[in-house]
């Protein structure tokens, strides 16, 4: 058994669950804003600082537009904006769904564990994606 502070009462778990609900609500609200105000038509979304200052496409460039396209079920457009986000999104959603479930049901909360090799594979994929998309932009 770990010598670790445990949750002492249901009230603490209830507060954590309320916090998880707030986070889920914020995520839904952001999705609603993205759906209602697509980034292609509205300029209030912040620009990627990497692209703005260095004129280099980072692995996350186009993620906001890709998410907005996904919300409108425009799969091809989403893939063109940022294929990495489209591929990783299901894993991210499963991860946060698991975290939400744990926050609301378990006494001892810990974020779901991601194996080190999966984290390394994700980072490597992001790196390769960043290099490939910039090379394609240069050559194209």
């Amino acid at each position: 058994m770990h010598w670790e502070s445990r949750v002492m009462s249901g009230r603490t778990r209830g507060m954590r669950c309320a916090m998880a609900n707030v986070c889920a609500g914020v995520a839904l609200a952001v999705a609603g804003v993205l759906y209602r105000f697509p980034p292609e038509q509205h300029s209030f979304y912040p620009q990627c600082p990497v692209f703005h200052y260095l004129h280099v496409l980072c692995p996350g460039c186009g993620a906001t537009r890709a998410l907005a396209a996904l919300l409108h079920l425009r799969w091809e457009a989403a893939l063109q904006y940022n294929a990495l986000v489209v591929v990783l999104l299901p894993f991210v959603m499963v991860y946060f769904a698991a975290a939400y479930w744990r926050a609301c049901t378990q006494e001892d909360f810990a974020w779901p564990r991601v194996p080190a090799f999966a984290a390394a594979a994700g980072l490597a994929a992001a790196l390769v994606f960043g290099v490939v998309r910039n090379a394609a932009a240069l050559l194209g």
């Binding site: 010598w3 670790e4 209030f44 692995p59 996350g60 080190a116 999966a118 984290a119």
Partner: protein, 214 residues
């Protein structure tokens, strides 16, 4: 019967009597710590509960295992640092704002006097204000918003160093890491929360190993 332990403002447990005896034997729980069971209205010193019950002698541990003593403090957030970077990248940095608050919440648990959370909240407030200023439409709004963002970046760096100082203080004085602990200023400047998460990942792995062997 299960017992809760209280040291200062922190509460731990509940633990069975056998676990409590083991922690007293290993020195993690002090006889002067306070203790309360389900049927007790008041907190009493652990010594009163343990009383005449013989405390089993701590098993002699190998030198390497002895170096990793269990800690009474909660473990740091357990997201792998690589995943933190990945989520930061694919959410255009939005995840960083959430995760920095998670890290600050942990710091507040282990260092109740920490001001880092408030400095980060100030950064968030200035960034949001800059967005409103930029779209307000008055003269020089873009220039003012740019200046506000610059100020926010400066405060962000100050917050990062404040968090670095809190983490170092915690792992040097309150919950010492065997072999010492120090965070690089350069890495803090450039990678801040990712760099802290890298160390949190390492510390968690070490503490979890310690949990197995304790």
């Amino acid at each position: 019967m299960n017992y809760k332990i209280k040291r200062g403002d922190q509460e731990y447990g509940p633990y069975t009597l056998a676990e409590l005896q083991r922690y007293v034997a290993s020195g993690n729980v002090l006889l002067t710590d306070l203790c309360q069971s389900e049927g007790m209205a008041e907190w009493v010193p652990v010594q009163q509960v343990i009383g005449n019950i013989p405390v089993p002698a701590a098993a002699p541990a190998p030198a390497a295992a002895a170096a990793f003593q269990p800690s009474p403090y909660p473990l740091p957030p357990n997201l792998h640092w690589g995943v933190a970077i990945l989520l930061g990248v694919i959410t255009c940095g939005l995840f960083n704002w959430v995760w920095v608050l998670v890290q600050c919440a942990w710091i507040r648990k282990v260092q109740p006097g920490s001001k880092t959370l408030f400095i980060y909240l100030a950064v968030v407030a200035v960034f949001i204000a800059a967005i409103f200023v930029e779209f307000s439409g008055f003269d020089d709004a873009r220039a003012l918003a740019g200046l506000m963002r610059l100020a926010a970046v400066a405060v962000w760096i100050a917050a990062s160093f404040s968090m670095r100082s809190d983490i170092e203080e915690h792992y040097i004085t309150r919950d010492p890491i065997p072999g010492g602990f120090a965070l690089s200023g350069v890495m803090t400047f450039f990678f801040s929360i990712y760099y802290f998460q890298y160390h949190f990942t390492k510390i968690r792995e070490m503490k979890e190993r310690q949990g197995i062997y304790a």
